[in-house]
Symmetry: C2
Amino acid sequence: MRSAEFDKEKVLRAAIAAFVNKGYNKTSMQDLKKATGLHPGSIYCAFENKEGLLIAALEQYNKDRCGEFSDYFSGEKTVLAGLKNYLMKTVTNCTSSGPERVCFSQQALSELSEQTSAVEAVISKNLNDWQQGFIWIFEQALAAGEIDNSRTAKQRTQSLVMGIYGLRTFAHTHPTVDVLEELATQLLEDVSR
Amino acid sequence: MRSAEFDKEKVLRAAIAAFVNKGYNKTSMQDLKKATGLHPGSIYCAFENKEGLLIAALEQYNKDRCGEFSDYFSGEKTVLAGLKNYLMKTVTNCTSSGPERVCFSQQALSELSEQTSAVEAVISKNLNDWQQGFIWIFEQALAAGEIDNSRTAKQRTQSLVMGIYGLRTFAHTHPTVDVLEELATQLLEDVSR
DNA sequence: GCTGTTGTTGAATGATCATTCAAGTACTTT
DNA sequence: AAAGTACTTGAATGATCATTCAACAACAGC
C-alpha cells in the first residue's frame, strides 16, 4: 500500500480559494490544477469529479469555520462582546482582497441552489451548523440576562444570519470599512434589543 | 427598411427568466434560443453577443422595477404602510416558483461582481437606482414625521437594502412565507425605529 | 534487489460552448 | 409585380470544457 503524496487539507483550501475567486461554474479544471498543484487524474482519483471536489471543499470549509467560531467568544466578558468581535471580523474579511472576502457557503448557496441536490445538502448542512452556533450564543446571552426574552434565540439568530447575508452582499457594491462597520453595529443593536 | 420581427421587451423578459433560472454562466445560447424564440444569428445581430444580451436584460429589468416602484406607495396613507407593501410583496416573490423569486440584479451581483467591468457598471446602476428610491421614501417619511432624525434617510436605506439582500438570500434556504414575513416585519420595525 | 501494487502524469477524447456566415426569406419601394 | 434591401435561419467553426486512460514512477513486501 502506497500513501497519497498530497496533503488533502491544503489541496481543499487551495480549491476553496479557486472556487471563491471565480465561482464554481467559471472555475475550470485547469484553474484547479494550477491552484492545487494536482493533475486532473489525481483530482479525479481523490474526489471522483469536479462536483466531488466541490463537496469535499465545502465540508473542509465548514470544519475550518466551526473550529474558529468559539475563538470570537472566548476571553470576552459578555456574549454580546463576542458577537461584536465576530461581526467586526466579518467586516474586515469583506474588505480583504484574499479569498476570505467571500463566504464560500453563501456563495455556493447563491450560485448553486436549486441545481444538484447532493451539493445543496452540504450547503444546507454548513449553513445550519453556522446557525446552530448562533442559537447557542443567544441562549447563553439570555441566560446571562444580556438580552430579554421578547424574542427567542432562534428568532434573533434568523435576523442575525439574514443580516450577515445582507452585509456580505452589500459589501460587493460598497466594500468600505466605514459603511460596513456602521451597518454591522446597527445590526448588532437591532438583534440584541 | 424592414423592421425587426420580434418584440425587444418580450425577448428581454424571456432572457431574464432564463438567466434567473440557471444563472448567467450556466445559461447556454441554446437555452436562450429556446426561451426567447430567437435564433443565434438574430441574438448576435440585436445584442452583439451573450454579454450584450445580459446588459440589455439588466437594463430592461431595471426599467420594469423602477416602473412599478411607486405602485407600492401610491394609495397608502403613510409611507411606512407603502414600505410594508413592498416588503410583503418581496416575501411572496421569494416564495414563488416563477422567475420573480429571484432579484435579477442581486443575482448578477453575486455571480458576476469582480468580473467584467461593463456588466458591473450596469449592475451598479440598477442597485443605485433602487437605493435612490428608498432614500426618497425615507425623506418623505421624515418630512411627514413618521420617523425621527436619529438616523439619516441614507443610513436607513442602507440598512433596508442590506436587509432585503439578506432576506432574499435567506429565502434560498428557508422559502416559507411564515418565517420570511416575520423577518420582513422585524426588518421594517428596525429600519423605522 | 526484485516484483506487484498503487499513485501520478498529461496527452487524448468527446461533449458542449459562444460565435459566425452564407444561403434563404419576407418586406418595402418603385 | 419586379428588384433591392434587410432580417432570419441553422449548420459549421474553433475554442474550451470535464473526464478518461494507458504509460510511467515510486513505494511496500519479500
